[in-house]
């Protein structure tokens, strides 16, 4: 009797185990053969980790699959702000003040030196147009800027040589305020040069389109509800972009 009972218990135990396994098998295959949604759902994978569905592995792995918090790359940069301590001193040839002719007022000279030290992009016609947009200029400073602007537009010697074959033959110069604050309007001036000739770029930033001004494209933009934006300019088929960080 005992033997029969033991056999029955073992048989039923095996029966239950088989039933469970069969259930598992049918359920998995049913998800796979279903229209496909839950089959890809993490919970139906044998892994007990609640693993994620098969996600794209971009080539190389994209940032989007990375956790974003606590990144150690600390891209805390702000517009035109270079990394701390980075203050490239523009070469003498690049400076707007490198001119044997008349010089602007000491105040404007200080502004120019500060702006030129703020990054490699602040230079050339775009910088002059940006300076011209400042409202507190004296008449003599305004005239000095205009004369430099005329010089820049006519002086082909200041243009760059032909670039390496295959690389962009258009150079864009950007004049961007060093601080962009949410809710406050900013003026961004962009110029472009190709084979020693100024070309007028066409720019956009969110819904704002540029307006032409003295061979430059001017973007008048007021940032709102954002920490960042990208300005894109096109000239002669090339696209130049700048990342703008907005202070709240």
């Amino acid at each position: 009797m005992n033997i029969l009972v033991r056999v029955a218990i073992v048989a039923l135990f095996l029966l239950q185990t088989l039933a469970v396994m069969a259930g598992s098998s049918t359920s998995r295959s049913s998800f796979k053969s279903s229209s496909g949604f839950a089959a890809r759902s993490p919970s139906y994978r044998p892994s007990s980790t609640g693993s994620a569905p098969a996600y794209k592995s971009f080539r190389p792995e994209s940032g989007s699959s990375a956790t974003t918090a606590g990144g150690n790359g600390s891209p805390a940069g702000r517009v035109n702000s270079t990394s701390p301590g980075y203050r490239p001193s523009p070469s003498a040839r690049q400076s707007l003040l490198n001119n044997s002719g008349p010089q602007p007022s000491p105040r404007l000279q200080t502004i120019i030196r500060e702006k030129e030290a703020s990054g490699p992009g602040w230079i050339g016609t775009a910088a002059l147009v940006w300076l011209l947009s400042q409202h507190d200029l004296s008449d003599s400073d305004r005239e000095w800027i205009n004369s430099r602007l005329r010089e820049a537009n006519s002086d082909s010697s200041s243009e760059q040589p032909a670039p390496v074959s295959g690389q962009s033959d258009v150079s864009f110069q950007w004049a961007i305020p060093s601080h962009i604050v949410s809710g406050l309007p900013v003026k961004i001036v962009v110029t472009a040069v190709r084979y020693r000739k100024a070309v007028l770029p066409s720019c956009e930033l969110d819904d704002v389109k540029s307006v032409p001004e003295n061979n430059a494209a001017v973007l008048n933009w007021t940032p709102e509800d954002t920490f960042s934006a990208v300005a894109s300019c096109r000239a002669e088929g090339w696209v130049d972009q700048r990342l703008l960080a907005v202070l709240k």
């Binding site: 218990i9 229209s35 890809r40 919970s43 940032g63 918090a69 040589p161």
Partner: protein
Amino acid sequence: MKTQFFRVLALLSAMMLAGCDYGDRQFDEDRTKALQNPDAFQAYQQLNKDAEKNCHPGVFRATCSEEVHTAYQQLALSVYRTALNRRSPAAFIDLFMRDDPPEELQSRMPQLAEELINLATHSAGDRSSARLLATAAHVLERGQWVQKDSVRAAAFFARAWLAYDTKVPASLSRLYSEQHDEASALLWRLRCIGDCYDKLETADDPATLSPREILRIQSLAKDRSIITVNGQANWEAK
């Protein structure tokens, strides 16, 4: 002897049936919780965990019936759709980072991709937006569900980088490399440091650039506002 055998048989059968009842009851509880959750994508994730717990087979453990499996599946899809309809960024990220979208949503993918891009465009650009921005960038870069647009993709990538997605430089380096814009590719390769570095396809400087250009690009890379190099690499050669 026979009587005892049948008693044991009946007892074990009852245990199995009770297990199925438990699965049904548990599903009802899980469904109620999911439908009450105001965050539909969170409810979807919880449902997946619930289903695994309730339906995962095991010896001496209750498993749910085929009907309950199907019910979990259908409820998960319904909640997932709700999350997408409510413009949940997490749901959009989940959807577009899968290797393949659910078949039920295949026909809606182009429209959903547009909505993803719209969400990214209007995102604040803070840390919590980083993955959304990068996902939109990938969608625009790949061109599977919307027309490929490298310029917009680069803009989203750059914003994601500013929002502390440290692996973005590898993606931008690849994007420009595929466009044969070696100068901009090098610019982003230089910025690909730390956990990004291992994602680089190559760490070599391109042979098409001169030593002076390479040094110039190294200098430009420190200015975080610069996304593209264009003729700037030649600037000092004036």
